[in-house]
C-alpha cells in the first residue's frame, strides 16, 4: 500500500495486528497461540455506514462495572488531567472508549482486554496494600506514589506486569484523548478545514529547522 498506510511506530500494536491477520490466514498454531481469545460478539462488518456518529456500547456490549469505570476515570485523569481550556481525559469520553476497546470483538483489542482488566485489579490490590483504601478514594499524593512506581521506563523489580499495564493504559488514554477535537487542539494539530490555497510551511517554521525552500 502507499501513503495512506504509514507504518506505525507503535510496534506492539502493529505486531499484534500482523499476528491477527496471520491467524486469519491459517498460520501455524505457534503463532495463533499468541493471540488472545477474541471476544464473542458481532463487529460492525465490512460495509458500515461511515457517515453516522457512533457511541461506545452501541455496537457491542461493554465490560466495565461502575467501580472499574471509576478506577479507569481516576487513572485516566491522573495521566491526562484538566489544564487550562482543556478538560481532563474522562470528560472527553476516554473511559467509554477504553471500555469499548477492551470489549470489541476483534483480535487486536481482545489482546489488550486481559492486560487491562488484570491491571485494574492489581491497582486496587496495591491501593489496599499500601493505604487500606480503594484506589478511587486515594489522595492525589497517594495515587502519585503508586503511579511513580509504574511510570518508570525500566520496570522496578516486582513491578514488571503492572508497569507494562500502565504503559499500555497510558497509550489507550492518549489514543482516546488526542482523537477528540479538544485533544487535537491540545497537541497542536490544526487542519481538517477546507483551504483555498496550500502555501507550505510558514517562514518561521522553515527558519527554525534551517531549511530554505526554493
Amino acid at each position: 500500500m502507499t501513503s495512506n498506510n504509514p507504518i506505525q511506530f507503535d510496534r506492539r500494536t502493529a505486531l499484534k495486528w500482523v499476528l491477527a491477520a496471520a491467524a486469519a490466514l491459517q498460520m501455524p498454531e505457534s503463532i495463533a497461540d499468541e493471540i488472545a481469545k477474541t471476544v464473542a460478539a458481532k463487529g460492525y462488518g465490512k460495509d458500515p455506514d461511515l457517515l453516522k456518529a457512533y457511541t461506545p456500547g452501541q455496537l457491542w456490549p461493554l465490560t466495565l462495572g461502575a467501580a472499574q469505570r471509576r478506577t479507569v476515570a481516576t487513572l485516566s485523569d491522573t495521566i491526562l488531567p484538566a489544564e487550562g481550556e482543556f478538560p481532563a481525559a474522562s470528560k472527553l469520553g476516554v473511559v467509554e472508549f477504553i471500555d469499548e476497546w477492551i470489549s470489541a470483538p476483534y483480535p487486536q483489542m481482545s489482546a489488550d482486554r486481559e492486560q487491562i482488566l488484570e491491571g485494574l485489579t492489581s491497582l486496587e490490590e496495591e491501593a489496599q496494600r499500601r493505604f487500606k483504601k480503594p484506589f478511587t478514594d486515594l489522595t492525589a499524593r497517594q495515587i502519585a506514589s503508586i503511579c511513580d512506581d509504574l511510570a518508570s521506563v525500566q520496570a522496578k523489580q516486582g513491578f514488571e506486569r503492572p508497569t507494562a499495564f500502565f504503559q499500555r493504559f497510558k497509550q489507550l488514554v492518549a489514543a482516546g484523548y488526542y482523537t477528540t477535537p479538544q485533544g487535537m487542539k491540545d497537541i497542536g494539530y490544526v487542519g481538517n478545514v477546507p483551504l483555498a490555497k496550500y502555501e507550505g510551511p510558514p517562514k518561521e517554521v522553515l527558519e527554525r529547522i534551517g531549511v530554505k525552500m526554493v
Binding site: M1, T2, S3, N5, P6, I7, Q8, F9, D10, R12, T13, A14, W17, A21, A24, L25, Q26, M27, G43, Y44, K46, P48, L50, L51, A53, Y54, I79, L92, E100, W101, A104, Y106, P107, M109, A151, Q167, K170, Q171, A174, A175, T179, D186, I187, G188, Y189, V190, G191, N192, V193, P194, L195, A196, Y198, E199, P201, P202, V205, I209, G210, V211
Partner: protein
Amino acid sequence: MPLIETKSLQDEYDVIVVGSGAAGGQTAYTLTMDGAKVLMLEAGRNYVAETETPMFQTHDQAPLRGNSTADKEFGFYDATVDGGWQVPDEPYTNASDQKDRQFWWWRARMLGGRTNHWGRISLRNGPYDFKPRSRDGLGFDWPMTYEDLAPYYDKVEMLIGVYGENDGLENTPNSPDGCLMPAPKPRAGEALLQQRARQLGVPVVAMHRAVLTERLDHKRIPKLLHPGNARAQSILAAEMQRRAACFWATECGRGCSIRANYQSPTVHLPPALATGNLDVLTNAMVREVTTNKEGRASGVLFIDRLTGVEHRAKARVIVLAASACETVRILLNSKSKQFPDGLANSSGNVGKYLMDTVGTGVAGQIPLLEGLPPHNDDGAGGSHVYSPWWLYQQQHAGKLDFARGYHIEINAQRPMPSVGYAAGLAQHAQGYGRKFKEEMRRYYGSTISMSGRGEMIPNEDSYCEIDPTKKDKWGIPVLRFHWKWSEHETRQAAHMQQTFANIIEAMGGRVLTKIETDGAKAIRPGGFIIHEVGGALMGADPKSSVTNQWGQTWDVKNLFLTDGAVFPSNADKNPTLTIMAHAWRASDYMLAAMKRSEI
C-alpha cells in the same frame, strides 16, 4: 451512478468489461467515448463517492476511534467496501504453511474497486523498466518500449489529473509540458528530509499523485484527448467542470466527495455513462468466459450475488480487467473440451509469474522537528515528495548485491492524530500528568517514517492456480497461491533498512524501529503492498506468453486483458498509472480491430 438491473441487459454488446477499477474504468471510458456499446460487470455493490465519503469526520465519531480492525484493515474511514485481505464467503488458500511463503490477496467489492482507497501515487515506468531482461538478464522484457506507451501516459495524466514535476532523473521520465499539475510545496518535515537526504546523495523530488491541485483545463484537454470527436470533447469538458480542485483537507484514502482525486467512479465512469454507451451492472460475480465452437469468446457467465442466480451476457469482444489474480482465476475457471486447461492457456503460463512490490519501513524521531509552531500541513492528503531510485549506475556496474531498484515513500507531517499515532507518541513521552502532556506536545509532528517500494523479479515459485477442492459461496473454485521471495528482494529490503536509518541519522534523529540486516526479516509478506501484477504475461512469443502487447490473448482473438495481469515485470513504480496507460492503448487497438472487422 445510474445502473442497470439484470433484466435490462441487452441481447448483445460490442464489449463486455469485467471489473470497474483502474483498468475497467479506463477501458470502458476509451471504448464508449469512441462509440462502442459496453457492458461493465462489477462483483461488488454500487458506490457513490459524492454521498458516501466521510470527508471531515473526526476519529471520535467512529467506533474504536477509527482504528483498524479485521473488518476495516486500513481503519474505519477507509473507503474500501466489503474488501480486505479476507473477504467473507470468498476464501483463497496458500499451498505452504510457512510464514514466509504466504500471499495475502487484497480485494474490494465495490464500484471502482481499489481505486477508491489507493494512495494515488502515479509514477511512469521508465525506458529500462520495459527492457529489464535486456539490461541485466533477469525476468522478462515487455514486447513494447517506453516510447510505445508514452503517449498514453500523457493522455492518462491529462485525463485524471496528476501533480508532479519534471526532474530529468535517470529512468524517471519527464512528462511533456501540459501533462502535470503543479506539485504542492514540501511540508516542513519533508523539506528537512529533502535537505539531509540530498547530503547523502539521495534525491528527494516532488511526488506524482492523482490529485487536482487546480481545476482541470476543460477547454484545452478534451481536444487533445479526443481529436475529431466533438461529442467526446463536449462530454469530457462538462465532466471536468464537475470536478473541484483539492481543498487541502481530509485523507484521500477515504475517497473524495468533491472528486478532486482520481477514483474510477468519479473520473472514468461519469463521462463513459454520459455517452449513453455504457451499462453498468453491479453485484455480478463473473465465473467464466464462455466460448463458441470456433473457439472465440462469446460472452460471460456470472452470478448475481444478491440472488445467487446464474446469468449470461454476450458480446463481440470480452475484456478481463478484474485485477491480476481475479482475471487469472476467471481464465483458469473457463474450462471446456476445447480449452481443458482454461482459456488462453496454451502456453501453460496462466497464473505464473505473480509479482508484488518489495516493501519495508523504518520510523524515526527528529529533535529538530520538536515543538514547532502549530500550522496546517494537511496538504494534498498524501506525500508531497519522494525519492526515485538513484543507484542505477552502481547497480548496473555490479556494486550492489541485488538487481533492481526501489523508491522511497516519505511520511513526515503533522497529522490528525489517530489511535496508532497517539499511542505511538505516548510510548515515547515520559511520565504522566502535565509532564506527559508537555512531552506529547513536544513530540507531536517530530516522527517520520519511510517506506521502501521496490521491484520484485518474477520467479518460478510465485504463482497461483485453482485449488483442487475449495470453492467459494457461489461454488466457484478458488485460487491457491505459491510464494517465494528471492535474494534480490530480501537484500533490497535490507538495503532499504540501512538507507532509511542513514537518512534519519543525517536528520539528527533516532531510529525508532529495529534495523534489520537480514532482509528476510524486514520484508513484508507477498501481497501486503497490494501491487500484485502478472499471472498472464504479455510477450512477443505465443509459446511462452499469454497475450500480445495489446493484451489480446494469443489463443482467443476477441479476448483482451487490460489489467496488471499482463505485466512482464513490476517496476518499483506503483502500477496503477501503467495499468491505465496499457488499458487505453489496448482499447484503441480493440476499436481499430473492430472497425477493420478483425474481431
